[in-house]
Symmetry: D3
Subunit: 174 residues, 6 copies
Amino acid sequence: MNGFACKASFSASDFFFAGLAMPKPTNNMLGLAMTPANVMQIPGLNTLGVSMARVDFGSGGLNPPHTHPRGTKILFVLYGELDVGFITTANLLVSMTIKQGDIFTFPKGLVHFQINNGKKPAAAIAAFNSQNPGVQAIAATLFAAMPPVSDGVLSKAFQISNQEVDAIKSKLAG
Amino acid sequence: MNGFACKASFSASDFFFAGLAMPKPTNNMLGLAMTPANVMQIPGLNTLGVSMARVDFGSGGLNPPHTHPRGTKILFVLYGELDVGFITTANLLVSMTIKQGDIFTFPKGLVHFQINNGKKPAAAIAAFNSQNPGVQAIAATLFAAMPPVSDGVLSKAFQISNQEVDAIKSKLAG
Amino acid sequence: MNGFACKASFSASDFFFAGLAMPKPTNNMLGLAMTPANVMQIPGLNTLGVSMARVDFGSGGLNPPHTHPRGTKILFVLYGELDVGFITTANLLVSMTIKQGDIFTFPKGLVHFQINNGKKPAAAIAAFNSQNPGVQAIAATLFAAMPPVSDGVLSKAFQISNQEVDAIKSKLAG
Amino acid sequence: MNGFACKASFSASDFFFAGLAMPKPTNNMLGLAMTPANVMQIPGLNTLGVSMARVDFGSGGLNPPHTHPRGTKILFVLYGELDVGFITTANLLVSMTIKQGDIFTFPKGLVHFQINNGKKPAAAIAAFNSQNPGVQAIAATLFAAMPPVSDGVLSKAFQISNQEVDAIKSKLAG
Amino acid sequence: MNGFACKASFSASDFFFAGLAMPKPTNNMLGLAMTPANVMQIPGLNTLGVSMARVDFGSGGLNPPHTHPRGTKILFVLYGELDVGFITTANLLVSMTIKQGDIFTFPKGLVHFQINNGKKPAAAIAAFNSQNPGVQAIAATLFAAMPPVSDGVLSKAFQISNQEVDAIKSKLAG
Amino acid sequence: MNGFACKASFSASDFFFAGLAMPKPTNNMLGLAMTPANVMQIPGLNTLGVSMARVDFGSGGLNPPHTHPRGTKILFVLYGELDVGFITTANLLVSMTIKQGDIFTFPKGLVHFQINNGKKPAAAIAAFNSQNPGVQAIAATLFAAMPPVSDGVLSKAFQISNQEVDAIKSKLAG
C-alpha cells in the first residue's frame, strides 16, 4: 500500500547501506552533493521510521533553504565547519556555526539551510525520524517546477518583476 | 506542557468562534486577509486535532507560496474563483482553477498557493488536521526573518546578486 | 491494504471535488441532506488525514444524534441558524445556537447533533481530521441495523416495551 | 497537561489494582455492575495506553448499547454466557454468543452491547488500548444528559412523541 | 502491506477466539504454557490495536524475563498467585506478589517476568495495546538464536567463560 | 507533563550539542564508552522525536546485547570495523560486519549488539527516532538491578545454578 514491499525473506543486507562512506563531487552550481539513505536504498527501513543522508560541501557550498515535509533532521558534522540555521513560524532565524563532531537539530517542516563559509570542504551526516522524509528545495520548488509556477504568483510573492522571475527560472531550470 | 491549558471547567463558547463570518479588508501588498481559527482562538480545540481559517482575496489577491509544517489543508471556496496549486517533492506543479463550492486538498508540508485572477473578490474556508498547523510564507520566511538570512545564502540559492537580494528584503520587510 | 489505492500517476482532479457546491433536497423524514467528500469521492485524500461534508437542513431539519468513530468534526455555517450540541462522557450537554459564518467543534467519538429550529433552510460545511471518519446515526444504528438488535436489548436499554421498540423499528427501517 | 501527574517517585502499587477481584451487586435496573481500572485507579497507567474493567451481569443483565470514544475493547468471559454484538458504520449487526473463557473484540468507537440471557450470573474482564477509553451509554447519553437534550431532537430522531420522550427521560434519569 | 488481509466480507467469528478457555500443559522446563490470541488467531484484530494471551504456570512455573517490543501488557490473574516484576531503564526492579483477581501493568518494551512460587497452578490473562506485540524471551533470544550469537559477545556481556556460555546454549537450545 | 519544559524563550544553543566530537576512554570491563545526546542534553529536542549518541569501542570493545524500548536505531561508523547484529522475534540472528562510513539499522525494541573484533579502536554515531529512546543492557538489567531479581527467576531462565547466578551478579554489580 505505501509502495514499499514487506519482504517474505530478508537478510542483513536489507538493513545495510555502504553509500555514505565516501564524499561525492561538489563541482556544481551550489557546491553541494546529497546522498540519500532512506527506504529507497535500504528496504529494511520500511515501517521503522528512520533514515539518513550524507551532505558534502565544497568551499562555499550551500545546502539551500529547504524543508522536509515528513521529518525532523539532526545533523552530525563529519569534518569542516558549517553555518546552519532554521526559521521558526514566528519568522525568527535560529542559527549558529557548528564544526567537526557537533550536532544541530532542524525541527520538522521548518525551512532550514547549511552553508560552508570556510576554505576547506565539509561533510555531515543527517538523520531523520522518517523512512522517507522528502525534501523541497524552496528556490527550485518555486522557480523550476514543471509545469512552471506562473510569473504572476512569483513576482507578487517576491515583489520582483516578471523579467526578474524569468531570469531566476532560467538559471534554476538550466 | 504544550502551552495550552486543560480547563477545569468549560462551556460551549470554548468550542465556538464567530470570527470567520465576515470578510476582512484586503487593501495591502498581497491583496490578502488571513483570519485564523485555531487553538489560540478556540481553547476547546486543545488535543482535538482540527482548526480552520478564513482567507479573503481582493481582485488579484495572492496567498503566496507557503507551507504548514504540522497539517494537511482542505479548502472550500465561499465565493469567487481561485487558481490553486501545490508542488510535489518530485517538483511537479499540481494546479487547477476552483470556484464557489469547490474543495481542493494541499498535502501536509508541501509548498502551495492560491491566487484570485478574477475581477471580483473571493473567499475560502480552510480546514486543517492540526489544532495549530503553523505557517511559513516562503518569501517572507527567507527575505524578512529576524535576524536576516545572509545575502550569501539567498543570492546563491536564487542565483541572483546581493543587490537583488537586498531589494527583495527591503520590499518584504517594509 | 486500507482498501484505497496509491495511484502511480495522478492529476489535480484527484485532490478536487465539486459536489459540495449546491444544496441537496431535504424533503425527507429528517429534513436533512448529507453530502460526503471523503477518500471515496477524492482519491488524493488517501493518507492525508482530512475530509469534508456538506449538510443541508430544511426548516426543522435534524442531523440526528450520531458519532464519528474516527474523527473530530469542525463545522462552518454557510447560511441559516443551527442549534448544535454534544454530550460529554460525564453526560453534560454542551450546546449553543450558531449562525452564518460561525464555527463549532464536536470532539472525536462523542454523540452530537444539529437542528434547524428556524423557518428558513440552513447549510453547513463539516471538516474532519480523518480521510474517512465514519458515522453512526444512533437511532438508526440501534433500531434499523440488519440483522436487528433484539427487542430485549433495546427495551431494557430505553426502558420501553417491546411494542414501543417495534414501533420505532418499523418507522426507522421504513 | 493531560490532568494526570508524572510522579517523581513511584512504587509497584502504582501499577497494581485489586478492585476487579470480586463481583459487585447487580440488583439495579440494568442488572449490571461496572468496575473501571483505568488511569484514575492506577496512576502508573499514565502514557502507557492500556486499561481494564470488570463487568458483572445478573441473570438478564444488560451492558446497554454504548461506545468508547478513545479505544478498542477486547472482552474475556470469566464465567457465564453472554450475547454480544457491535454495529458497523454500514449498519450491520455483528453478534454471537460467547461463554466462559471466550474472547470477543469491539472495534474503537462503534456502538456495542452485551446481555446475559442465561439464568446464572456472568462476569467478564474488558481490556482497552487507552489509559482512559471513556464511555457513552447511548440511552443515558441521549435521555439523561444535563441539561437535557430537547424533546424536539429526540422525538424526531426516534420518531416518537414528546410524551414518549418524556417517559423515557423520567425512567432513565430516575 | 502489513501482511494481514482486510477481508471483503467478514463475520462475527473473525472477532472471536475460544482458545484461551482451558489451561494448557505445563510439564516442561519452565513449567509454563503460553497461548497467544493476536491477529494471527483473530483476523478481525487487524488495525484495531489490541490482543490477548493466556499464561499457565505449574507450581514453580516461570514466564522468564522477556520484552514485548510493540506493546504494554496488563495482566489479570485468573487463579493462583504470582510474583511479578519489571525493571526500569534506571535499573530499578518494580515487583510485587499478585493473586486471583489482581491486575498489574508492564510498560512497553521493558524487561519483565512472572513466577509462580506457590504449590498450586496459576493462570493469567494478558492484554496488549497492539494487534501483534511480539515477544523476546531474553535468555532464549541470546543463547538459542539461529545462527547463534557468538560466544565472545555472550561471555563478555555476562562475564562468564565460553564453556559456561556453551553450557547455557546447549540447555536452552535443547 | 513529560518532565521536560517548553521554554518561553530559546536560542540556537538549545538545539546544539558539542559532546559527541571526541572519543571517550574505553578502559573498562566492556571496552566501551557511550555518550548520549538526547533531550536531557539538548532541551530543544522536546517533542521533535530524534536524538543521537556516540559509541566508542576499544579493541575487543562490546556494546552488549540491549534494547531501546522507545526507538529504532540507525548507526553510522565513524572509524574502525564492527560486528553488529539484532535478533528477531522469530529468534533469527541478523548480523554482519560493517566498517567506516557504513550504516546499519536496529528495529525498535529488538535485542541487538555491536562488537569491535579488530585490533584498532572504533567509533559510531547512533541516531534514534525518539527524543529519549531509553536503553536496557540485558545482562545488567537482569543481574544488576536494585533490588536484585531473585536467583530463582534467573537460574531457571538461564538454566544455571544459584551459585552461577550469584557469580554473574557479583561481577556485573561490582
